[in-house]
Symmetry: C2
Subunit: 129 residues, 2 copies
Amino acid sequence: MKPVFHPDIEDVAPADVFGALADPIRLGILVALSDVNEVDKARCSHFTAFASPSLLSYHFAKLREAGITRMRVEGTSRYLSIRREELNQRFPGLIDSVIETARRDPNLPRLGSEWLAGAEQAQGQTSSR
Amino acid sequence: MKPVFHPDIEDVAPADVFGALADPIRLGILVALSDVNEVDKARCSHFTAFASPSLLSYHFAKLREAGITRMRVEGTSRYLSIRREELNQRFPGLIDSVIETARRDPNLPRLGSEWLAGAEQAQGQTSSR
DNA sequence: TTCGAAATTCAATGATCGTTGAATTAAACC
DNA sequence: GGTTTAATTCAACGATCATTGAATTTCGAA
């Protein structure tokens, strides 16, 4: 249960962020994450429609290592969220315009609306962050 | 004197734009271009401090093919500019926050201040690394 | 203690990327 | 004409990328 590496936001370079955004699957993940109001409600397995499990792992790691997402381990599951406050502190306004730009792209993979409501049963009181 | 291809801004996908931004040299070019108030005043040869001529050509093409820059041919020279209006129409607010983000990166290649002022015969000496 | 679900890791692939250096085009200037 | 200047093109290279599929880890539950 190695505790998933997250880079210090100060160590993230703009070019790294843009590199992580240069893929339709990852942009689709980002948009889906931004649709989740409840923090840490997005489980990795919710994205199986986007790609195979191993490919998803690859893309999740890319986003995480670029400082864009956070990954919380709980049992055999992983929950994803956008590192909004840290990103806004380091790159003010960037992530919002990126998400807004991606959201308008009709060619990105998307999740049905049902999963947003159906992904429940989270007991998220364990120390956040 | 083939007339330089520029993609229709509607054909540009967000992932393509981010891919073009995923490089320090190209971000440096973008920041430098945003410093030029006079449109079409930035000649390609002004960026020789950033990389070799052939590598510059490569990066210029990347930015151009991603719909980010425009290239005007005049004699043997080429002048670059950011496609601001079109980008803002297609991806509102994006290019400004990208430039602002890049401008704060202390690790990007930069141009001296002398070239901004008309600079005709500038031959900088600031090569390091 | 075995079984199954969630997710990662690993090795392999073909594609694209960033970089170099030499050759090439194209216009300008004597 | 020949030369110079600006910039691109081309072939090569090693590095990274996106993708696949099989093997592995980890934990929860029966």
